[in-house]
Symmetry: C2
């Protein structure tokens, strides 16, 4: 079954049928310049008859605008970016822009290629969640060539651009402080922390250190908040409770969580730093048969579909993900339109700590912490005890 591919009608076709010049036809259809009502009607009729649709590419070549926003996600499959994307595209559409979405998979080379592709396709501006906050020369170059850039979820000291973020340090600080207030002193953290940067951790360990958020990846920021919450509460940080996966990888999170639970002195609480870490770690917790929150309090970054479906429901730090995307789009469009005279700025959005059922006051563990797998959630709840007054960690 062969479909006859009749050539698409072009502007000259319409103009000829309407008996006017191409220029007039373009003006009538494109909403620029001025035309008499009579010509407009003739052209509109002709266009309809020919089923005419303007070739936006051709127009873009001429005008230099594409009415398109390029987006570089770090992981398009994660609920975080999926939701943010919706915020971005809702705002974009409202303003007559479409979005061209790419994915870096947290890989710098992929990100550079993605940015290049967007630039080649002449997007009017770029929203990017940079894979590496230290390596952003390609973004600076885009800016230099006249394509505005808005950073999303991560900011960088090496780029003078608008950014829409959450204060990861503060959010983690709030989360971990809450756990400490519940009496926990052995709090594990599972985080990506791609770059080891152990030397920087040492620097972070100096309470007075002034660390710019623009040199921290999201997971580093959250680690810093974790550390600061400990210092401020006078709770020592246990190195073995800080678990680095090295990548945004569910399996790695699973393994790190398993490992930390198998310690002679296991944690009584855990802070999971993003949704991938949460999925992997939570699976490990479930497989280990540890009862939550009796033996282990769990607090996770990012609210997800399923956080209320598990038993007990997960306590979380919720980010305003949709709104973050929407705001990034708004800022970018303002730059594209040239309506902003001010220099680049950073917009910090607020998070919300939602306490559900997975966090509870610490309880003295009398026996072994491991229980048979699958028994999880079927045992009677352990008696809840007030936080132990002393700061001593439970005896081995």
């Amino acid at each position: 079954m062969t479909v006859s591919r009749q050539r698409r009608a072009t502007l000259p076709d319409v103009a000829a049928l309407a008996g006017v010049s191409t220029a007039a036809a373009g003006r009538a259809l494109g909403g620029y310049g001025s035309v008499s009502e009579e010509v407009r009607q003739r052209v509109l009729n002709a266009a309809e008859q020919l089923n005419y649709r303007a070739n936006r590419l051709a127009a873009s070549v001429r005008t230099g605008r594409t009415d398109t926003i390029g987006v570089v996600c770090a992981d398009i499959e994660s609920p975080f970016f999926a939701r943010a994307l919706r915020g971005i595209s809702d705002v974009a559409h409202k303003h007559g822009f479409s979005t061209l979405v790419t994915n870096s998979d947290e890989d710098l080379t992929s990100e550079r290629n993605a940015v290049q592709l967007l630039l080649d396709k002449q997007v009017d501006g770029i929203i990017c969640a940079p894979a590496d906050v230290q390596q952003v020369a390609h973004l600076a170059q885009a800016q230099g060539a006249g394509t505005p850039v808005v950073l999303f979820d991560r900011m960088s000291d090496h780029l003078d651009a608008d950014a829409v973020i959450v204060d990861g340090v503060k959010a983690a600080y709030q989360a971990v402080s809450r756990l400490i207030a519940l009496g926990h002193e052995r709090i594990a953290i599972v985080a990506e922390l791609r770059q080891p940067r152990e030397q920087d951790w040492a620097r972070f360990l100096t309470p007075a250190a002034d660390v710019s958020p623009g040199v921290l990846s999201p997971s580093e920021a959250r680690l810093l908040g974790y550390l600061r919450a400990h210092w401020d509460a006078g709770v020592p940080v246990r190195r073995e409770l800080v678990r680095r996966t090295g990548a945004y990888d569910v399996g790695a999170a699973y393994r790190q969580m398993k490992r930390v639970l198998a310690l002679k002195h296991p944690p009584t609480a855990v802070f999971l730093v993003d949704n991938l870490m949460t999925v992997g770690s939570y699976r490990a917790i479930r497989d280990s048969g540890i009862s939550v929150p009796e033996r282990l309090s769990v607090l996770a970054f990012d609210d997800l579909d399923w956080t209320v479906l598990v038993s007990p429901a997960l306590s979380v730090i919720a980010q305003p993900v949709y709104e973050m995307g929407a705001e990034a789009a708004r800022q970018l469009i303002a730059r594209i339109r040239g309506g902003r005279e001010d220099g680049p700025g950073t917009t910090v959005m607020d998070v919300t700590l939602i306490e559900r059922e997975s966090t509870a006051p610490v309880v003295r563990a009398p026996g072994p912490v491991l229980a048979p797998a699958r028994a999880h959630g079927r045992r009677p709840p352990a008696a809840r005890v007030a936080p132990s007054p002393s700061g001593a960690s439970p005896g081995g």
Copy 2:
């Protein structure tokens, strides 16, 4: 801080610097036609010096190709489409195509606009999950204008196009038959079923009816499989157990599930037809405090991150989502490249029934089915009993 926007170098700029014609420069950089090695080098050097990047838009205007695939998702936020999108874009990139992603939100008007936008942007082909399998004239028109279309997740008798789908009738039949084999006779189903089509259901109710999959939406296909499994097993279909939400809406699924659980003769099993229905319904089940699988077996369509995180782990019908996306992209690219002589065809992918912990043999319910909310998962497991030999539904 003003960034100096120096004009981007163009092909004539490069040609001038290299001391050759624009045509030669284009050939050297574009990989078409032939150039001497010496010219190539001079041009490459010049391009590098000027930081030249070809304007792909301009090239597209000339060639009529954009190396871009348009995608119309029904819900970009759902894990199903997010994963499929990855399959699509992985294959697309491998073949030198990028993707332009739009979203219909299951709305026909949005879909028409999206398709129009993609066409205006001159995409080389379109992958679409049509919101309405009956209303696809806009897609036929795209095909007529020479833009190939591949249907994804849903096929239509009204469009002669390639399609990549799962056999929803068969998959649901398999799922529900399994529940029946476990002794369940009161099996609820929660499904979108936007159009009431009650008259068609009546037709479906005739076992012999030959229903073409191309006239069914995914949820209708799954309903049909549900019905057929009942007939073939000689189990009567209870109208009150067929719950229609009318939209892909988590809240509506929650309400329908609540309602069916509140029936005097509640179901002993439930089949959840897609991931949104599952999230909403599962929340209702949890809030109702019904113990799974003791009082209610749960079987859901689509495997998700969290299906193994809840207690008990959910039994599911898993679709090969990534592979479905990849295959759709492969087929579309083959059409674009013109390498296919055969007519359009439908590719049906296999699903897998994964039995985990949420499905079990039916048990006679001695007392009331409702238990206090939140008690869920904390009670000792009910004794498991073999399926009752008679087909009688439990007494009220």
